[in-house]
């Protein structure tokens, strides 16, 4: 079971406007209070999944221990947590996996990191085709 998602080209459909191309996919984030569709960046360089604090509050995620996280842009504070991520595969099948995550203050991107997420999928980035392909790995 696999599914390919194209990178979005630009902000305007027919223009090359220097919008950074990135592997973003539709996901459903599920918390204790809400479930919502989001667009999430797949980041093979990130250890963990990151969720903006305001999104975590909407979802009703548990705010665990406060932590400091080092990023290329500096240190930011956050909280340990976990979130259920739903990924739409072929034939409209939804694969749900629970992953550890960091809830981050002053952060506005949903980032899918390796822990938990990359264990559940074989993920292939094809920059030439500007697409990312996910193949769900069945648990043994």
């Amino acid at each position: 079971m696999s599914k390919a998602y194209k990178y979005r080209k630009s902000l305007s459909p027919d223009k090359d406007d220097s919008t950074p191309l990135a592997p973003r996919i539709p996901v459903i984030l599920i918390g204790k209070e809400e479930a919502m569709e989001n667009i999430a960046l797949i980041d093979s360089g990130a250890t963990d999944t990151s969720i903006p604090k305001l999104i975590a509050e909407i979802l009703g995620l548990r705010f665990g221990k406060k932590i400091q996280i080092r990023t290329p842009g500096g240190e930011i504070s956050g909280y340990g947590s976990e979130v259920t991520v739903g990924v739409l595969m072929e034939h409209d099948r939804l694969v749900k996996i629970k992953v550890p995550c960091h809830i981050l203050e002053d952060f506005d991107e949903i980032v899918l990191g390796r822990a938990g997420f990359f264990n559940a999928f074989e993920i292939t980035f094809c920059e030439a085709k500007r697409e990312v392909r996910l193949k769900h790995l069945q648990a043994k």
Partner: protein, 68 residues
């Protein structure tokens, strides 16, 4: 799940240049709310969708390279 695909296709194909750097909420293939605060955008969108699931997305900014 049909709605997720419809909203995702809207995210991929709509002209979002007016929302650069903002959060947007998409419902039934249309942008129904936008702004800098995702909580406010989500609340407004839930009113527009009558509490049905909406897609919340941050629109990238032109010329900004992301190093996360």
């Amino acid at each position: 799940m049909r709605n997720v695909i419809k909203d995702y296709n809207a995210y991929m194909n709509l002209d979002l240049s007016a929302f650069e750097g903002l959060w947007i909420a998409i419902f039934n293939g249309q942008v129904v709310a936008s702004g800098a605060n995702p909580k406010k955008v989500y609340g407004e969108a839930m009113g527009a969708s009558k509490n049905k699931m909406v897609m919340l997305a941050k629109v990238p900014e032109r010329g900004v390279v992301e190093i996360l």
